[in-house]
Amino acid sequence: MSAFFKLLARNRLALGGLIVMGLVVALALITPLLPLADPDATDTANRFLPPLSDGYLLGTDGLGRDLLSRLLWGTRLSLAVGFAAALFAAVAGAAVGIIAGFYGGRTDNIIMRGVDMLMAFPYILLALAIVAALGPGLVNALIAVSVVNIPFFARNIRGITVGLAHKEFVDAAKLAGMSNPRIILSEILPNVVPVIVIAMSTTIGWMILETAGLSFLGLGSQPPQADLGSMLGEARSALITNPHTSVIPGIMILIIVMSINLLGDGVRDALDPRLKSGALSRPMAATRVERKERPAPETSTDAILSLDDLHTQFHVKDRIYKAVSGVSLSVKPGECLGVIGESGSGKSVTALSIMGLVASPPGIITAGAARLEGRDMLSARFGELRRLRGRRVAYIFQDPLATLHPLYKVGDQLIEAISCHRAISKSEGRKKAIELLKSVRIPNPEERIDIYPHEMSGGMRQRVGIAMALANDPDVIIADEPTTALDVTVQAQILSLLSDLRRERGLAIIFITHDFGVVAQLCDRVAVMYAGRIVEEGPTMEILRAPAHPYTSRLIACVPELGEGKRKLEAIPGLPPSVDNLPAGCAFADRCLKAQDSCTKGEIGLEGSGSRAVRCLFPEPGFAEETA
């Protein structure tokens, strides 16, 4: 609760709203104590005095009544009526909602039908009908406004009650022989009250506005009594000649409603947990790059794509998560590099960093380079980067149901992949799309082209994802766990498809996975990642035969049988360290059976001879023998 108030206080606008609202309420409360003129005392000699006249701070209205006094009394009345209407609607609505939600079945059905009917009205029609039946008057307007708002509360509260009605403590109370009304009062109500209060606080501004509105129409408070609405309504006839009589009550309504809205927004933000974590911010078109130093010049030359000392971090509030800290990789044309690690190892972030696709905020690339044929794409301007995306370097993502647009036909999504890089006629695009679907072995491509992603099976969708990546004959494909969501047979098909395509088209592939079985089938070389760093790197077959890093050997031990690896890596006991608080030295030390004191003393480099490298002080015996 105190955290809630702290959040509210940090929101300066909400605090402002709270203060203004507090002032208005305080003013309304002490109005009877203030030395004010009688708000209803007419004085025809002093009609329409302008503000700041002698003895009349805000002037007078058409009957010579003191506007300041009328304003304060009117505010008092408007607040009271609005509050009463909100309270009445909340109590009645909550009662209806609790009964419907608690008893369920027929009762629920009938009540909620009725509520739906009430909601089918544009709200004011209902209010007008009620006022028409009861006759104009402040109390009747209050009733009308509350009745109109009952459905809102009834629905909200019913939803909560339904959830509560099946909780253990309610069952326990039933078993203990408590009567239903008692259960409602003692078990349900206390849990619902906070919701009622919040719903009330969000509607109270609305209620004040609505009752003022009915008064404005002449259907609410009747002369000489006046709330803010009827003050405004009465002043309307003198709008042009004496605008101050309208402006004064109007501004007051504006102030009240605005401060309540500000407060309500603040409350809502404070209650929404997503806003705290900053998760509601939208990612920009490309990841932010904030490098302190220019990246070192290109070293290897035969690579089509290379990463050089890449650092990618997530800045959330005052914490820094070092998702990737110093990863260097490269692939040659026609080569397939596997990047393997547990979830959270930074392998996906590495892959997404290459083309600036890490969500930003909160992601920031803080150092390193990502080079395509020697050209650093992290220094490229967005326009250039965009033209490279999908055309030279294409991505295949995990879970194609989420990664394909749900509302576009698959054919259109394929055609778009082409048309955003070169002009293409409609018929030509369609032809090309069909070809692409054929190339990924989708049966009946002529028909499939016109269906939506949700109408396909998971395997078919992933083929569409691959087809989309192939659309522009890219040089590099980055596949981010493309088979994880699929079952084993489909997975095998997709893998063989990828390996055929690689052979036919000379593609370079970076394949991200957590499964050594998959790596074994497809990849020439593999890099093992742990806590944002590469801990071992080398030719797949050699690493499989003789892993050097203790972590790698444990990963390999997790694969039950090559090619069938659906098993999760969680089989390794313990968890990787949190990347916002990395230990000194080897990040794996906590889980490593061979850990020594020296392992946590200082930086351990990625060292090796020939094609292999390892980041470990005490590499596995098999590896030591081989390199020795």
Partner: protein, 315 residues
Amino acid sequence: MGGYILKRLLLAIPVILGITVIVFLIMAMIPGDPATAILGSYATPDNVARINRDLGLDKPLVARYFIWLWNMLHGDFGQSFSLNRPVIDVVLERFNNTLILAGTSFVLCTVFGILAGVISAARQYGLADKAITFAVLLGISIPSFFLGMMMILFFAVDLRWFPVSGMTAIYGGGDLADVIHHLTMPALALAVVATGVVARLSRSAMLEVLRQDFIRTARAKGVREGRVIWGHALRAAMVSIIPVLGIQAGFVLSGAVYIEIVFQWPGIGRMLVDAILQRDILLVQGGVVFVASCYVIFNIIVDVAQSLLDPRIKT
């Protein structure tokens, strides 16, 4: 599709019947003899006898309801005593004017609301976002009737850009240009609140969508950022914006009552308020049932639009 529309129309029948029941029950709350209540100051013995015969007001409640419903199904909504015309004629004529006003406002709030919301989301925390957020807060806080009055003071009285009130000029008015001239201010005043609500919702819907994986896919394909925002993202966000447009239509229709009073627009809202003050019960009853039913139909159109937009909805 046709089947879906038919199904929705059939489902609307019980809702509209429910509306008639609710309106009827509310009107039955009027204390005293219904005939005298309806006739008010016109309650001569002759008139009482006639209305009892026509509407069966001396019969029990249930019978009265069905007679009333039966008459309405035949297009007979009764006679307005204050205007001495058939209710349905007055309602149709006035509703037409309200549609011109509310329809324009609805289009305005949809277009500008979505526009502002998308820009705000795409420039989250930027200057445009802050400006729009502030404008929206102001817009949803200002009572439309007060805003209307201030607009009259400023644009009609001071600047003389627009007429103070009415729908057409008294002399020689009535053509399209004249109506647009009269329509501008009330339509804008009416649209402000709804625009704010739509903008707010569009912004949060867009922020929600922009974080989705398929947006990343579009960017990975190399789609231009403009198309990512206004195409991919907005298209997906529309799925949550459209239902709110349906709700906002109801709010625009409701707000029209105030605006019609402020600008003396001869619409159905002003007719209803006058009828209440004159205690012309049949006119109120007929007007409310008619407008509420139209709103139900409008919501069917919204649902159909939604199903056209979202292929995942089973039709």
